[in-house]
């Protein structure tokens, strides 16, 4: 950004709208609502994501009550859900609605927007040395499209026919035919509208991230000097930009089938006591429900990497910083993210081995699916090598990062079972799958999110720190509790217990685990309430947390810690500092910190240098 190097104050930068009559004073609405400052937008993403997380996880607790104690009645359920839980007993229709909403909310609103949206927005400009995103306006739109998507989904929860209830994958024909399920009525329409808005949000965000990373790095910030967080956000954005449009096309065709009488996904159907006819009075034929599955999973699989890559990037950054060692094998880490990104596009049909797809096609997807284990393994080994002989400081962020590595190992290894089509005959759509993807994608990404929040909280909220003790308690409750929830699900899987069952009592084969289901549900309740340790800490610390004594509380090398407290729109007062080295040279030549912004000649007196430059 050579254009901004001679600009003095944050309030007159090029990216800022000029309103001379305002004397650059931002109104409340400009500052907190329709803000174009990436820092404010990241806070908006985070707080919206946190609220959705509470709703999404609460839903899972409600349906876990049903699974743990299928014959009990819970007055609290009736109080919350009214007619959907008459007499305190959850109705099957609404059980499926809760499952569907839990999946949709957690995957899209929490782990995509809440995680990637928050930290891409916060860190891309700050860690690259940019005043803001390439287009602050599109960035603002990206948040408000996400917000609108959330509002539409929220409205769908209050429909008399209930929200969408065909699973988060919304497979047709179930999701097309209102006669097949009440949730496939207006609830499904709103789901599709919400998802369309969400995809727009994702695309606006993603294009912005790619453009910013490619064009707006500060002087000296070559690609190979970028923190791994940025590499992760970069490939995440590429994945999103290339795959979300495919989901959009799938959703549009679904809308056509629902509203315009087309039959892209419909063929030979007899429902509601009659064959399904088209407008010309002929039997609907020729459509393929499998087509939707291809379109869905062409996003759906990259989506899990959209969720996990940012977490990987942040964990890499946090582990290096808090072990006081370089990330082991920086180039290998970059290459493995790249390899994961490429392979992520070539594995989608491993969700469809049992869908009736040609089995020969399936075998090609086995190959690519198992190959993706290789770059994943490299990353795990490199994380472990990073903490080896380090000097580890246990902040809550470090704890969550180490927890992340453990979860990624546990959940990743079961992927080697599921990615093999031969084993998928046995394991497909049973609890083994639930255990696998919750551990490797849900929990691991969630841990990445927590690690990121604890680590960058002082950057987000003007030098305030979160309470460490509460952070430690939060970690251990969540880490132990989550393993207690999801580890036993492998055993349900080995007994063939299928997922998405409202009640197991009909089948003798699936009904052997009453005690274990109660254990899982109890653990889920404990973990849910454990999250309030985080929520209280988070919201309390925003205004009342302990003030950090320095700008750079974790003694980090990367440049986001050189912006002043209460930085305005534009981040740095004065010129953006140039960068002289990579972000991970901890301990090189015995030096504790080697900030990216300090030239070699001044490393020995870096404090004075940073003071002189106004960066400390």
């Amino acid at each position: 950004m050579s254009t901004s190097s001679n600009i003095d104050t944050a309030h007159t930068i090029a990216v800022h709208d000029h309103h001379d009559d305002h004397h650059h004073e931002e109104t409340f609405i400009q500052k907190y609502v329709f803000s174009m400052d990436h820092k404010m937008i990241s806070r908006q993403f985070l707080i919206t994501g946190v609220i959705w997380a509470v709703i999404g996880v609460l839903f899972s607790v409600l349906f876990r009550l049903q699974l743990g104690w299928p014959n009990e009645s819970f007055p609290i359920m009736e109080a919350l859900l009214g007619g959907w839980a008459e007499g305190g007993k959850l109705q099957p229709e609404f059980y499926y609605a809760l499952v569907t909403m839990h999946g949709t909310i957690m995957v899209f609103f929490v782990l995509t927007a809440g995680l990637s949206g928050t930290f891409s927005n916060l860190l891309i400009p700050l860690q690259l040395g940019a005043r803001d995103m390439a287009s602050p306006f599109l960035n603002m739109l990206s948040y408000w499209f996400f917000f609108s998507a959330g509002m539409v989904m929220l409205v769908s929860l209050f429909l008399s026919t209930g929200p969408a209830s065909g699973g988060w994958t919304v497979y047709p024909p179930l999701s097309v035919l209102e006669q097949a399920s009440p949730g496939s009525g207006t609830g499904m329409t709103l789901w599709l509208v919400s998802m369309t808005l969400f995809i727009v949000s994702s695309l606006l965000g993603g294009l912005n991230y790619v453009a910013t990373i490619l064009n707006m790095r500060t002087q000296g910030m070559t690609m190979m000097r970028m923190p791994l967080t940025i590499w992760a956000f970069f490939f995440t954005a590429i994945l999103g930009v290339l795959s979300f449009p495919v989901l959009l096309s799938g959703c549009v065709l679904l809308l056509f089938d629902r509203g315009l009488g087309t039959s892209f996904y419909l063929s030979d159907i007899y429902i509601g006591g009659e064959p399904l006819m088209n407008a010309a009075g002929e039997l609907m034929q020729g459509g393929s429900p499998i087509l939707f599955q291809h379109l869905f999973w062409f996003l759906g699989h990259p989506e899990v990497y959209i969720v996990i890559l940012p977490a990987m990037g942040m964990v890499s950054h946090i582990l290096a910083t808090n072990s006081r060692k370089p990330i082991f094998g920086y180039s290998a880490m970059v290459l493995s993210i790249m390899a994961i990104t490429v392979l992520a596009f070539l594995v989608w049909a491993h969700h469809m081995f049992m869908s009736g797809m040609n089995p020969f096609v399936g075998s090609i997807f086995v190959l690519f699916t198992l190959l993706i284990a290789v770059p994943s393994a490299i990353k795990v080994f490199n994380w472990i090598a990073t903490i080896w002989r380090g000097s580890i400081n246990y902040t809550p962020a470090t704890l969550f990062s180490i927890g992340f590595v453990s979860l990624f190992i546990s959940g990743g290894l079961t992927g080697i079972f599921l990615g093999n089509s031969t084993l998928d005959i046995r394991l497909h759509d049973n609890y083994f799958v639930i255990a696998h993807f919750h551990i490797v994608m849900g929990l691991a990404a969630g841990f990445g999110l927590f690690a990121g929040v604890y680590h960058w909280f002082p950057k987000m909220f003007n030098g305030r720190m979160m309470n460490d003790t509460l952070g430690y308690m939060h970690f251990w409750v969540t880490f132990i509790g989550s393993y207690c929830i999801f580890w036993p699900m492998h055993y349900l899987g080995l007994s063939g217990v299928p997922r998405r069952y409202f009640n197991f009592e009909t089948f003798e084969t699936f009904n052997a685990y009453g005690d274990l289901n109660q254990f899982i549900s109890t653990a889920a309740i404990v973990v849910f309430f454990g999250q309030f340790l985080f929520l209280i800490n988070f919201f309390y610390s925003i205004n009342s947390g302990r003030k950090s004594k320095t700008l750079n509380p974790w003694e980090s090398n990367s440049i986001e810690w050189t912006t002043p407290l209460n930085a305005g729109h534009g981040n740095w007062v004065g010129a953006i500092p140039p960068v002289f080295r990579g972000p991970y040279e901890y301990g090189k030549e015995g030096m504790h910190v080697r900030p990216q912004v300090v030239p070699d000649a001044h490393l020995d007196n870096q404090d004075e240098y940073l003071d002189g430059q106004g960066l400390k």
Partner: protein, 350 residues
């Protein structure tokens, strides 16, 4: 009221923990920063070591604890292939699980920053990284190779002598149609579905005349069975947990799965020491509110028993008395049907 009290207690616990956290932070403010840091590092590093022991012990011991509830060895020929694959995948992954967790948590403990620990500057090692790229890649290729071999064998063409059975799903039940003496399923269309003709069979197709429909899945032991799977409304999945059989039922696109049962129901009852035992048929793809309720019983019997049972079943064609109707009338219906039909269960997508 109880749940309200429960929530109140949880709120109080959270409040106490919050105050404890704040108090500890205030006490810490009086200590030197280095001292607090070392105390935290020591405690958290040690907790990881404790966790490692409990986690590795717990995760492996619990596997054995629940062992008697897992599905027994599959009662189908191809199920043995799947068990073989499962075993070798476990052999490949379990040591990695244990070793990486020991390394991770041991390092987390050993290299905690106490007593002024100095980190060792070590940024990369190409040879080491090459080793841990090549070894996983080689293991994966072995697994892929074995996986593909089994997969293509299981999914390959059914033997010529396989008995053809059709499983049709609808909300919320399975129905089975047997192909009768000719071992050929007659054509059908959803347009013909009535309360009498629940499969929508096309009576002009002679192959339909000996087809019979049941709600119990009867299978002869030791004989290959080809199940043609289809649905008349939404997606379902034909799932026989004990046989390692699973395949989606897709409206408009017939799918199939062939397998050979190895154990009769009577033998299984003895084997599992459960005189009430039944093999069950379930649905494994979300299909609506009663998805969890699509149970049918599968009965595996000797070939003689199976043949005897099959002979006793009455074909729908006969049950409806269609064979006695006037030929003229029959012919007229037939012509009308033929002009409209182009979807049959015989068309293959594979």
């Amino acid at each position: 009221m109880n749940s309200f009290l429960g929530l109140l207690i949880i709120a109080l616990i959270l409040l106490v923990l919050f105050q404890v956290g704040r108090a500890l932070d205030m006490i810490n403010a009086l200590r030197s920063e280095e001292e607090i840091k070392e105390r935290n590092n020591h405690l958290q590093g040690t907790l990881f070591l404790v966790f490692m022991v409990l986690f590795l012990f717990g995760s492996i011991a619990s596997y054995f604890y629940y062992q008697d509830r897992y599905l027994p060895e599959p009662v189908s020929v191809h199920g043995a292939e799947i068990s073989f694959m499962f075993f070798w995948t476990t052999v490949a992954t379990l040591p990695v699980f244990v070793a990486t967790h020991i390394a991770l948590f041991w390092f987390a403990y050993k290299y905690r920053n106490v007593n002024g620990r100095k980190p060792y500057y070590y940024s990369h090692n190409n040879r080491l990284e090459l080793i841990w790229t090549v070894i996983p890649a080689a293991v994966m290729i072995l697994l892929v190779f074995q996986g593909m071999r089994s997969w293509l064998k299981i999914m390959g063409d059914a033997p010529e002598n396989a008995i053809v059975i059709e499983a049709t799903a609808q909300q919320f039940q399975w129905n089975f149609r047997y192909s009768g003496a000719d071992n050929v399923l007659g054509k059908k269309t959803v347009k013909n579905i009535t309360t009498d003709n629940q499969m929508g069979q096309i009576w002009s197709d002679k192959a339909n005349q000996d087809d019979f429909i049941t709600q119990e899945l009867h299978l002869p032991v030791g004989k290959p069975v080809l199940v043609r799977i289809n649905s008349i409304d939404v997606l379902h999945s034909f799932y026989l947990p004990h046989f390692d059989v699973k395949m989606d039922a897709v409206p408009g696109i017939p799918t199939q799965f062939w397998f050979t049962p190895t154990t009769t129901t009577a033998e299984a009852r003895k084997l599992y020491d459960n005189p009430e035992f039944e093999f069950e048929v379930a649905c494994a793809e979300l299909c609506g509110a009663a998805h969890y309720n699509m149970r049918r019983v599968a009965i595996v019997e000797t070939e003689e028993e199976f043949n005897k049972w099959a002979k006793e079943q009455q074909p729908t064609y006969k049950a409806l008395g269609l064979d006695e109707q006037e030929l003229d009338n029959d012919k007229r219906i037939v012509e009308k049907e033929e002009s409209e039909v182009n979807q049959t269960t015989d068309s293959s997508t594979l």
